[in-house]
């Protein structure tokens, strides 16, 4: 089957103020299957948002190939990015109209996804009248209701408190299991990645360092010890303790093969 996303030798450079050329993305190769949930895990500044921008078509200046095959793209930003002068429903209508979704389908789409996220009663509310968590849910509804083939998510829950974030992550998995969208989810949170993904790609310094399958059965539970253990292994493997050089023995033997070449300094900066 044709992959949903195909990236080959993707390079992106830009000129800094000092005139030096910085390479943000170094020859990335990536394939994401249809219906796959992929997490890209990496510290800030590692190029993961840049990669998403290229995939989304926001950034068109790059070398190599990046093609997205399965239709429209939905995108969830770190912030909700709702239009503050429109109601919840107005914001959905804006997206539906911009994407030229036939008007007769609007009601059904809106109702479906609003119900899935528990926002059905908030159609007439303005963004400032709902909580940050609800605003991000609404942004998720907006991304879903234009029926994207692929959903790109850029640290969408990092700005929320942990309890709210957990609820939305669980909702996201429920929605994903129902709709089977292809999802590329960028995060710096190892636990989140282990809970959500089929596969984790660890990124740092503009390149993928490791690929890790997540062999945890679905449906997953947030308190599943398997998620906890896997994320603990990931964290341990990436470097013990924040900003501290880990002793060589700190890398546990059974998993050491996963992260041999990960830059430890970068890993230590990760918010794991």
């Amino acid at each position: 089957m044709k992959p949903a996303i195909h990236v080959a030798s993707l390079r992106k450079t830009f000129k800094g103020r000092d005139g030096a050329t910085h390479t943000v993305l170094k020859n990335l190769d990536l394939e994401v299957g249809v219906g796959e949930f992929l997490c890209i895990l990496g510290p800030s500044g590692c190029g993961k948002s840049t990669l998403l921008n290229v995939l989304a078509g926001l950034d068109k200046v790059y070398e190599g190939r990046a093609s997205v095959s399965s239709g429209r793209i939905g995108y969830l930003f770190q912030e909700p990015r709702l239009l503050p002068w429109l109601t919840a429903e107005g914001n959905l209508d804006f997206a539906l109209a911009s994407c030229r979704v036939p008007t007769e389908r609007w009601d059904q789409l809106k109702s479906r996804y609003l119900a899935m996220t528990g926002l059905s009663d908030y159609r007439t509310y303005y963004p400032h009248q709902i909580s940050g968590g609800m605003a991000q849910r609404l942004a998720l509804v907006r991304a879903l209701c234009v029926e994207p083939g692929i959903l790109l998510m850029d640290e969408p829950f990092s700005g929320l408190d942990e309890i709210t974030a957990r609820r939305i992550r669980t909702d996201l998995l429920t929605i994903w299991e129902e709709t089977r969208k292809t999802i590329v989810f960028v995060t710096h949170n190892a636990y989140e990645a282990c809970f959500l993904a089929d596969r984790i790609l660890v990124m740092s310094g503009g390149a993928f360092q490791q690929e890790m399958p997540v062999p945890i059965a679905r449906p997953r539970s947030y308190d599943d010890s398997a998620v906890f253990e896997l994320s603990r292994d990931v964290i341990k493997a990436f470097g013990d303790g924040m900003g501290r050089e880990p002793a060589p023995v700190a890398v546990p033997k059974p998993h050491s093969n996963l992260v041999d070449d990960l830059d430890r300094h970068t890993a230590a900066r990760m918010n794991l």
Partner: protein, 246 residues
Amino acid sequence: MLKVVSLVVAVIVWGLLSLTLPPEIFPGPLETAKVLWGEIAGGRVETDVAMTMLRVVGGLVLALLLGVPIGVLMGLNRRAEAVLDVWVMIGLTVPSLCYAIMAFMWFGLNEGAAIIAIAVTAAPSITINIWEGVKNVDTKLVAMARIFEASRPVIVRRVLLPQIYPYVMASARFGLGIIWKITVLVELIGRPNGVGFKLFYWYQLADMRQVLAWTLLFTIIMLLIELVILKPIERRIFAWRPEVAV
């Protein structure tokens, strides 16, 4: 309620202050109101008020037509900003009296010249306000709109302009404040009617009762415009904005 109290206090303060000077030089509120009522009842205010309002509205519209596009251009385009920056600063520095004299000398003593002088004086302030507003536009919302495949016209109309409206509204309001003051000045030096003309006329006759009566009249009119027209429009357009509680 607080507004009414504060208004009453203002009138009382005026009354108390007026006691310090003879009534021919500083009449109190009651006396001024009486004189004003006499003028209104005698039908001697309509023409002048109408002429002044015409110039104020004409000047405001023209000032917005000049100031808003230039401000938007400066906010969106670096080069335009670099070129027009100095012009706006010069425009802002030249006193309104100079604009009025130049307009009357070049275009003659007519309504067109008066309105041009008024608009040119107010336009730079409006430009600066809009320019700042456009620079504050949230580009993250533009990126969002692009993700949802919004076309350029749609982005301008539904994402950029709504962010600029509050600044246009604010410009119209303070523009009105500036413009009414310029209008009076322009009428004083170059028009045969209007509130400014009347003020100067009564000043030359040293009739302070009339001077204050005309001042009071126009203050009331401007307050009414603010309360009856601008405030409700603003409330309606910006219903989505959260109320600020400090």
